[in-house]
């Protein structure tokens, strides 16, 4: 057992670092540091994405035949980790990480030709219409109806928690096409253009002051049947494939380490005299070490062609907790200064202040937003119940 990179992987890491050093401009770094949301807003990332696209690195997780990089698991891990370590933005993860893989597996040739290149190029921004007001953790009880009207579906209903619907020009939606039998069996997977008449987007104000989520209403939307992915009523299977992707597909260690490092910097600057804060930092540090080892074990399994087993819920559960602990620790370090509130968003556009004053203004919003880590994408309670089955056979 060994944690050393091979010479080839090490050289690849150097190449990634060189790319990042060139394209992470000061402005981009500041914008990312002042980001208080889970993900960055698409406009921030567009220029960076175009540089990636020009280098052929727009889709690290896609096979070469679809314009991806065709990287090995280790290369992909290195790329994602180095990007996260320097705080590089992501552009349209819903396109690249989610609907892209879905279309490669379940889409027609027409779907693939129409959508995949526009995801790579950055022309299309996607959002995901899954959750509904009455269907959160219990996703399968969703009610948005799609009624077959010959050449189109008539879609009525409501989605909620739709991240960045206000930036997206495409949406993929789970709709109910059958109300009989098991609720999982009447769900279909449908893609639509956001400018279809009857699609209405209403913002949801996060208590951290950010507009990240939306409600999306479908009022008698005539959705072309060409948007059906897979078979009718096959949507649950497709969504499960995607959820699996969502919950464990991406290495998080470097991302959480970057936050650890930035909180370490906060302590040095503002609270060097309080050992209780440093000890809390250290506890999270040991947690990250352990989880990174589990992540690397998963990577090692993948690399050896093994089935990595049921760790995606475990990783989601634990990384969420660490992100929250670090945001909470930052709040405690900041003292009363964290009470000052700037309501303009994005912060990098609203603020004109010295760097360390700016930095304080992100701490409160981030603490509040990050409470969502243990909720969105499957609550910690749900993940724990999944693990009770998967890990312990309960």
């Amino acid at each position: 057992m060994d944690l050393r990179l091979s010479k080839e992987d090490h050289a690849f890491r150097d190449e990634v670092r060189a790319f990042l050093a060139e394209h992470m401009t000061d402005g981009l770094r500041r914008a990312m540091e002042l980001n208080t949301c889970f993900i960055n807003e698409p406009p921030v990332a567009l220029a960076f994405h175009k540089a990636l696209h020009a280098k052929g690195w727009a889709a690290p997780n896609w096979p070469e035949e679809f314009g991806g990089t065709g990287w090995s698991p280790v290369q992909r891990y290195i790329y994602e980790s180095e990007s996260a370590r320097v705080g590089a933005p992501t552009f349209n993860d819903q396109g690249i990480k989610h609907i892209g893989p879905i279309l490669m597996k379940y889409g027609t040739k027409e779907h693939q030709d129409a959508y995949l290149p526009r995801i790579l190029s950055g022309e299309d921004v996607w959002c995901q219409g899954y959750s509904e007001p009455g269907a959160g953790s219990d996703l399968a009880s969703l009610k948005t109806r799609a009624v077959d009207e010959g050449d189109h579906y008539l879609v009525t209903g409501q989605k909620i928690w739709t991240t960045h619907a206000h930036f997206a020009n495409r949406i993929y939606v789970l709709v109910r096409t059958n109300t009989e039998g098991r609720k999982q069996e009447g769900i279909s997977f449908l893609i639509m253009d956001m400018d279809l008449p009857g699609i209405i987007v209403r913002p949801i104000d996060g208590s951290g002051g950010d507009h990240e989520f939306n409600e999306v209403f479908f009022e008698d939307v005539r959705a072309p049947k060409s948007g059906l992915v897979g078979e009718e009523n096959q949507g649950w299977e497709i969504a499960k494939y995607l959820l699996e992707y969502e919950r464990g597909g991406n290495p998080q260690a470097a991302r959480v380490r970057a936050r650890l490092s930035s909180v370490a910097r906060l302590i040095k600057r503002y609270a060097d005299d309080d050992p209780s804060l440093t000890l809390r930092l250290a506890e999270v540090g040991t947690d990250i070490d352990a989880m990174e080892m589990l992540e690397l074990t998963l990577l090692s399994d993948l690399q050896s062609g093994k089935n990595p087993g049921a760790v995606s819920s475990l990783l989601k559960l634990r990384w969420s907790a660490m992100q929250q602990q670090l945001a909470e620790l930052a709040l405690d370090i900041a003292g009363e200064d964290a009470l000052r509130w700037e309501s303009g968003r994005p912060l990098y556009e609203s603020l004109q202040l010295p760097p360390d004053t700016e930095e304080m203004l992100g701490i409160g919003p981030r603490y509040l937003n990050y409470r969502g880590y243990s909720i969105l994408g499957g609550t910690s309670e749900i993940q724990t119940s999944i693990l009770a089955k998967q890990l312990l056979g309960l």
């Binding site: 009470l339 000052r340 700037e342 509040l368 409470r371 243990s374 909720i375 309670e381 724990t384």
Partner: protein, 380 residues
């Protein structure tokens, strides 16, 4: 030994419940949050009419002579709204400071005006650091420097400003907010209120503006601060209790997997832990309140103990309440988000939770102090 609420205390609670339910519902709160001022003169007048603005002042100074127990009963109801108006700053912190430190003349001039609703004050104290310089001129003090994060300053007509003089005594000056040489830079706060950073540039303060003549202000500042901490702990208990209540209600009606989520044992147990945290927090506020008439050591133990305990409860409850609500809990769609922000702000005001725990630790690490029962000797 008697912990039964008196009839008068029950009346205060009931009238607060009624007034706030009638006049200060979520729509009113949201309207104020969307306003620039972040407070309502109309509501403030209502408080005055009900006698709340003079509640803890002596009757001879235009007050109602009520004690800490009455204040915490009222404050808990305020926290359930949560009330944005500067009650703790004006009435408790500055009002008590004037009562404790002021000359009869100063008390007469100021307390009555607070009680009648005409005057709001903010305390420019900056307990963490005091970068003020004071020069004693011929006919006035000259103040220069900065007081940071003066809560509720934007709605105050008078600032009480603390300064250490050249003889080492601490003076508290009563200064009109619009006095020459004072500039205020105002900010919104995380919980929807307002604060200011005050710049003093050779601001001239006449000697008669010093509270209490030549008396050192330290003891009075400490005592008034203990009152304010206790009041703000009670406010936090109000926010906690509203969160617990709303979370229990939500869990009973929110269905997932074909049943109310309140049926899930993990949530049931968490809700119980939240309720216990509420009960414990309330109990330690009562202890703090009943310690305010003791000596300085007893007051500090009560206030710091409550700030530490309520701070811990505040954090656990707001996090658990959000988690139990799920995604909706992370938004401003419900009042929940505002209670959470209130509690985050509570933890930071008057020094953070862990600093108060440290103070309490210094007291309790003496084995004798640790062993002492709460029931006290009868007074002679």
């Amino acid at each position: 030994m008697d912990l039964q609420p008196t009839e008068e205390q029950q009346l205060i609670r009931e009238s607060a419940e009624k007034f706030l339910a009638d006049r200060y519902g979520p729509e009113t709160f949201r309207a104020l949050i969307d306003s620039d001022a972040r407070w309502s003169p109309d509501i403030w007048n209502g408080f005055a009419e009900l006698g709340w603005l003079g509640l803890p002042f002596p009757e001879d100074a235009g007050g109602f002579g009520m004690g800490p127990a009455e204040v915490v009963i009222l404050m808990e109801q305020f926290g359930r709204v949560p009330v944005l108006e500067p009650y703790v700053s004006s009435v408790i912190l500055c009002g008590k400071l004037i009562e404790l430190l002021g000359t009869d003349e100063q008390r007469g001039a100021l307390l009555g005006e607070i009680a009648s609703g005409q005057l709001r004050l903010a305390f420019a104290h900056d307990a963490l650091e005091g970068p003020m310089t004071v020069t004693r001129g011929a006919d006035a003090f000259l103040l220069s420097g900065v007081k940071r994060a003066v809560h509720d300053a934007p709605m105050a007509e008078i600032y009480l400003v603390s300064c250490t003089l050249d003889d080492g005594t601490v003076a508290v000056f009563s200064v009109p907010a619009n006095a020459a040489g004072i500039t205020a830079r105002s900010h919104n706060t995380l919980d929807g209120r307002r604060l200011s950073d005050l710049d003093f540039a050779d601001a001239r303060i006449p000697p008669e503006a010093r509270l209490g003549g030549g008396t050192d202000g330290r003891a009075a500042i400490d005592e008034a601060t203990a009152w304010a901490i206790t009041a703000s702990c009670a406010d936090a208990v109000g926010a906690i209790s509203a969160m617990v209540e709303q979370t229990v209600d939500y869990a009973k009606q929110r269905e997932q997997f074909g049943q109310p989520i309140a049926k899930f044992q993990v949530l049931q147990h968490r809700l119980v832990d939240m309720k216990i945290a509420e009960e414990e927090a309330r109990a330690s506020v009562l202890l703090a309140a009943l310690s305010l008439d003791g000596d300085a050591a007893m007051r500090e133990r009560g206030a710091s103990g409550a700030k530490a305990k309520v701070g811990r409860a505040a954090r656990f409850v707001h996090q658990a309440a959000i988690q139990t609500h799920g995604a909706i809990g992370t938004t401003d769609e419900l009042m929940l988000g505002w209670y959470a922000k209130r509690l985050v702000a509570f933890e930071k005001q008057f020094l953070p939770t862990r600093r108060h725990l440290g103070r309490y630790a210094e007291i309790i690490s003496d084995p004798e102090a640790a062993a002492a029962p709460l029931l006290r000797e009868a007074t002679a």
